[in-house]
């Protein structure tokens, strides 16, 4: 099947084009494909979105439930991120216990949101030490054409931004699922945008297509709030030099702006 592997010949040509600053689809190295976000795709979820970046598509839903807080933060809500690389979305994915790529997607999304304090957990306390809200962020891939990582992060932010808190019946100590308050999930205005830079030969790109991602030699996922860096993770075994890092850091703000513009529209 053609989407199972990227032939070496295609890889060679991608490398050659990049030395001239060109890509197959005519994009500049630090240019994203068009980002489309659709909200309310699943009405039983507290918040749900479909994110399309070119041909890459993910669906992300937010559900809430009550739970017992952690002893070290008795008045703070909690969160949990899961992701599934569905076999529906690519012939490369198989059923079974989550393997590293799926775990990595969820972990990177989790950290970008948690470390930046995007969700205001102190406002998600129902009764100190006894009951708080848990926010579940579930990510499903629909079509893999590269850069699922960033699509998942965008989806998580958009789903959280659009989420409404369910009604809670304090007397009977029960969540009234399917009924919502007018209150949005309390999130900060400063979006922790996560973006992944890929190194191919001596060149850097963002938002790789499937073919480009296949020949990516190393990558760096950067989580950034306005003007600040909140998380980073390098992937794959090739090295990065200090100069490489400088190139990436110089481009964080402009890439961040593209993504933030798309996410900020979501209410």
């Amino acid at each position: 099947m053609d989407s199972m592997i990227t032939p070496n010949m295609t890889g060679e040509r991608i490398r050659k084009y990049l030395t001239e600053g060109k890509r197959f689809d005519g994009r500049k190295p630090f240019e994203f494909r068009n980002i489309e976000i659709e909200t309310k795709i699943s009405k039983n979820a507290e918040g749900s979105v479909r994110v399309k970046i070119g041909n890459t598509e993910v669906m992300v839903g937010v559900k809430m439930a009550t739970s017992v807080p952690y002893p070290d933060s008795p008045n703070e809500g909690t969160m949990m991120v899961t992701s599934e690389l569905l076999p529906l979305s690519s012939p490369r994915f198989e059923y079974g216990p989550p393997k590293f790529p799926a775990i990595e997607v969820a972990r990177l999304v989790d950290r970008a949101i948690r470390e930046s304090k995007f969700i205001q957990f102190d406002k998600l306390c129902i009764k100190e030490g006894e009951k708080v809200w848990t926010v579940f962020i579930d990510i499903y891939t629909i079509n893999d054409d590269g850069n699922l990582q960033d699509a998942a992060s965008i989806g998580a932010l958009a789903a959280l931004k659009s989420a409404k808190i369910p009604k809670y019946d304090a007397e009977n100590d029960k969540v009234l699922f399917g009924e919502w308050t007018d209150e949005n999930l309390p999130v900060s205005k400063d979006l922790p945008i996560s973006m992944t830079f890929h190194k191919i030969g001596n060149n850097f790109i963002v938002d790789p297509t499937r073919d480009e991602e296949d020949i990516s030699e190393t990558r760096l996922t950067v989580g950034s709030t306005a003007g600040m860096i909140s998380s980073m993770q390098k992937g794959n075994s090739q090295t990065l030099s200090m100069e490489d890092l400088n190139i990436i850091l110089d481009n964080v703000d402009s890439v961040r702006k593209t993504i933030a513009t798309a996410v900020e529209k979501i209410k």
Binding site: M1, S3, I41, S42, K43, N44, A45, E46, S48, N55, E57, M59, G61, V62, K63, A65, T82, E84, L86, P87, L88, S89, S90, P91, Y95, F136, D138, Y140, I142, N143, D144, D145, F177, G178
Partner: protein, 235 residues
């Protein structure tokens, strides 16, 4: 006692607004979306391809492998991601519903994978899943003798209805309660799938079976139109 009235104002034999579309997953060999009102299913097909592991290969005929799953956020009370006993059973039922029309003999040692996901649920999810899967198989160009169309019928208290929604399936509990009967028909009226949970008289069952057959015809028209549109290059 509360009298049963359909909460969405439908007539008793009226199906919720249906929508269907093929080609929703570009990576797949075939894919489709099918919607009954608030129930939305998507399906993608990969194959025929070589069966792995090799010892699962059948040299006589190809194998159909279906997988049904609900998104964790598709229901009001979040469900744990991953397979369950319910989803395993529905996956198998779906295989049985589809196999009779597939010309699977032409693909020895090979497998056709069908992945079904419920994005939003308001009962009748297996029917929406089977409808989407049948369309995805046709879209993938797998040789088929016929189309299959699935519809749920039921008896709520004493009333016979077509296309059961969530209120009817799990909220309305008065009187004789709810009997849910999902059916799948080939276009020439043969049954490939039938389940029943509840309590119903033989007479009522015969009536409701005919209602299901009529309903399946309407489903078929929607499926056919979506497949036609995809060939003619319409949305």
């Amino acid at each position: 006692m509360k009298e049963f009235i359909r909460d969405d104002g439908r007539k008793f034999d009226e199906i919720r607004p249906m929508k269907a579309k093929v080609g929703v997953v570009p990576n797949a060999d075939g894919s489709a979306m099918f919607q009954f009102g608030d129930t939305i299913a998507i399906a993608s097909v990969f194959g025929p391809k070589k069966m792995h592991p090799q010892h699962s290969q059948d040299p006589e005929k190809g194998t159909l492998r279906c997988n049904y799953n609900m998104f964790s956020f598709s229901v009001e009370d979040r469900i744990r991601p991953g397979p369950s006993r319910r989803s395993t059973e529905i996956s198998k039922i779906t295989e049985w519903a589809l196999e009779p029309v597939l010309m699977i003999d032409s693909f020895p040692n090979q497998v056709i994978d069908v992945h079904i996901h419920i994005i939003q649920a308001s009962a009748s999810t297996r029917c929406a899943g089977i409808n989407a899967a049948a369309m995805a198989l046709a879209h993938a160009g797998i040789p088929m003798k016929d189309m299959v169309s699935s519809i749920s019928v039921g008896k709520i208290d004493k009333q016979l209805i077509v296309d059961v929604n969530k209120y009817e399936d799990s909220v309305f509990k008065e009187g004789e309660g709810a009997t849910d009967i999902p059916f799948t028909f080939t276009h020439d009226g043969k049954i490939t799938h039938l389940q029943l949970d509840g309590k119903i008289s033989k007479e009522d069952f015969k009536t409701v079976m005919n209602l299901a057959k009529e309903g399946a015809k309407k489903v078929y028209e929607v499926q056919k139109q979506a497949l036609k549109d995809s060939i003619e290059g319409k949305e």
